[in-house]
Structures are given as C-alpha cells and as structure tokens.
Symmetry: C2
Subunit: 214 residues, 2 copies
C-alpha cells in the first residue's frame, strides 16, 4: 500500500514540530512538505503531490480559506484538513463550502487526528462532535428562524461604516469623513441591522467580532 502523502502549513513552528514528530512515528504517513504559510504550500504542490494538505486557518498572507479555495480549484483531488482555533460557525461554514474534508480544533488528540486522516484519505469527511453540533444547531436555527445569514452579507461600504461606528464615530462624523449625507449613514445603519437581524449596533458588533469579520 502506498503511503499517505501529507503536506503541512502552519505559522506556529512548535505546532508543526508536534505534527512532524507525530507523523514520523506513523508507518503509513509520509510528509512531503512543511511550510510556514499557505502560499509556499500552494507553490510546492506540483512537487509534493500530496494526498492531503493539513492547513492552519490563520496564517499570514494566504490564509486557510483562500488556500483551500485555490487548492480545490487547481487540484481538486488534494484533500484539505483544516486545523483551526476558531470555533465559530461562520468559519466552519466557509471552509466546508470551500471544500475542506475535515475541520479540527487545535486541541484535538493525536489519536483523533490520525483517525481524521484515515477517514479523509478514504474520501470521506471528518467533523468532530463539537463541529457537527455547531453545524446542526446552525442548520436548525436557519430553518426555524428563516434566517439567511450564512454569508454575513455586509457590503464593503457597510463594513467601512461599521468600522467607523466601532471607532465611536457618530453618524454626523461618519458623514463628514466619507463625504456623504447623515441620512445615508442612517440608512446604511438601518440596513445592516435589518439584514443581520440585530437590535442595535452593540449586538451587530459583537456578532462581527465573534465571527472575526473585521
């Protein structure tokens, strides 16, 4: 049987070392590339020819989501396992949609990580209980509440205004800053609250921070 060829990308050196020493003990696994960022992994992919790419979600430059999208577009046969420190549904859904085969938290045990690799290698997906629970809860709430916020759906102009609001700018100050009318700012505010189903900016900002959207 061929060994499972794996490439790694993570900007945490210690964590890479941990993975390396774990996989070196495994007969069935062959590490063909280790990188500190997503761009390098992607560039090397023609040489490393991996079966599986294990990628951090939070890397400088090309991050885990962008990397996954590029990999699945150019090399759809390469499976992607995401290692994440974020447990929010927005990230989870984004990566699943991007084509990740597994979404694991970094506090996963070695045994489960190997389990995930074997599952993914077979062509299956692997989502630990915590992640499945989040997905299930999200699906339920979406159905029952008629929500439609998988994508945060904020436009770039809205995000721009949101950032100023977060900096404690009043509507009139925002209007002055962006050279638009105060009425327009009010409208953007209103639209953001409506489309994200929030009562006020404090709640919206919390949502945005919780989901690392800014």
């Amino acid at each position: 049987m061929d060994k499972i060829k794996i490439v790694l990308a993570d900007d945490h050196q210690i964590l890479l070392d941990g993975l390396k020493s774990l996989f070196e003990k495994q007969e069935a696994i062959d590490i063909t590339g280790i990188y500190n960022n997503g761009a390098d992994l992607f560039e090397g992919i023609n040489d490393t020819m991996p079966d599986i790419a294990i990628v951090d979600i939070n890397m400088p430059g090309l991050n885990g989501l962008e990397l996954t999208l590029k990999i699945k577009k150019e090399f759809p046969a390469v499976k992607v396992i995401v290692l994440s420190m974020f447990d929010d549904i927005v990230h989870i859904m984004q990566l699943i949609k991007a084509g990740a085969s597994a979404y694991l938290f970094k506090n996963i045990s070695n045994a489960k990580l190997l389990e995930a690799i074997l599952e993914v290698e077979k062509g299956n997906t692997y989502f630990p209980a915590e992640v499945s629970a989040k997905i299930a809860a999200f699906t339920r709430s979406e159905k029952s509440k008629q929500y439609e916020i998988p994508a945060p759906a904020l436009t770039s102009r809205e995000l721009q205004i949101l950032k100023l609001i977060a900096l404690e700018y009043s509507n009139s100050k925002i209007a002055d800053t962006l050279f638009i009318s105060e009425r327009t700012v009010e409208t953007h505010r209103k639209n953001m609250l409506r489309k994200t189903n929030h009562k006020n900016m404090v709640g919206l900002l919390k949502y945005v921070f919780d989901n690392h959207l800014i």
Copy 2:
C-alpha cells in the same frame, strides 16, 4: 551541571507534542511534567519541582494568568514562561505584573524558545521584539495621554451588565433580569464609560473584545 527542569501546561495536544519532541533532543533540559490544564500543573508542582513552568495563556479552568499568580505566590522560585496567542497589551501587562519571566507568541521559532529558556533560567526576563515594542508603545502612550487603563478595572458586576448589553438587552430588561433599578443600570453604564474613557458602549465593547476581556 544540573538539567533545567521544566513542566508544561497547554490544552493543545499537538503543541505539547511539539514541545516534548523539541526538549527531548536537548541534553540540558528535563521535562518533569506535562499537563493539559493549569490546575493539574499546579497540583503536581511539589512533586515535579520545576525550575521553569511553560504555560499556555488560554486554558480551561485555571488559565495562564491565574496559574502564574498562584505559582508566584506559593512557589516564587519557579519561573514562568507564557506561551500566548494573544498579542494585546492588556494580556501582556497582566502577565508581566503577575510575575511572568517571558511572554512568547506561539509562532516563535525553536531556537528563540530555547534562547528564552536559557535567559529565564539565569534569572533574567525574555521578551521578543514584538512584545517589547508593544510594551514601549504602551508606556509612551500612557505617559503622553495621562491614561490610566492598564487594568481594565471593570468590576464583576459591571462585566455582568456589559455581557447583557452585548446581548442587546435594554437597560430596563437588564434591570428586570438582575432585580435592580433601571437607574442603577444607567449608573453602571456611566461608570464603565468613564473609567475606560469611551464615548459609547460600542467603543467599550470593541475594547473588551479586542482585549479578550469577555
């Protein structure tokens, strides 16, 4: 020469593995304990008799700050090296005040980690450039702006109310929830804004989220 005795606490198994394999290669270092949380490390400290404790800042139960405070109170000879994913000044200052000898980000290289261990073992402190820069910038801004917010200084009651505000509770609803008067809620709000120097709750909440205070 005696080996440097080190204990580790981190809830990320992969990272622990990385540290373990790194230290096992080092002649001068002896790992006397590995734990997945702070409480276990503290309990074992009489048996492990470490020179240095390397602790994660973000652990379930007893977190890095609490652990550091307890260690420095009960076993002041034990040096603490903090491994953190947070680069905010509030955490840095808190840990320094708690008596940590080094504050390192998790993307540190192996070489620098070993460097830090040797420095700390000698009784010195070790703060990488990024951290020093933050401390310096903070010190400067503090002096120039007459600010006095090193400690966020929010009381537990205030934090409790802040969390409800973040959940979009109105003052009257908070009052009902906590069985206090709406006036009291207003006062708490006012006090929080005053002591943190913010214009409104959106700004305060941003500060709180940025600094992982909730």
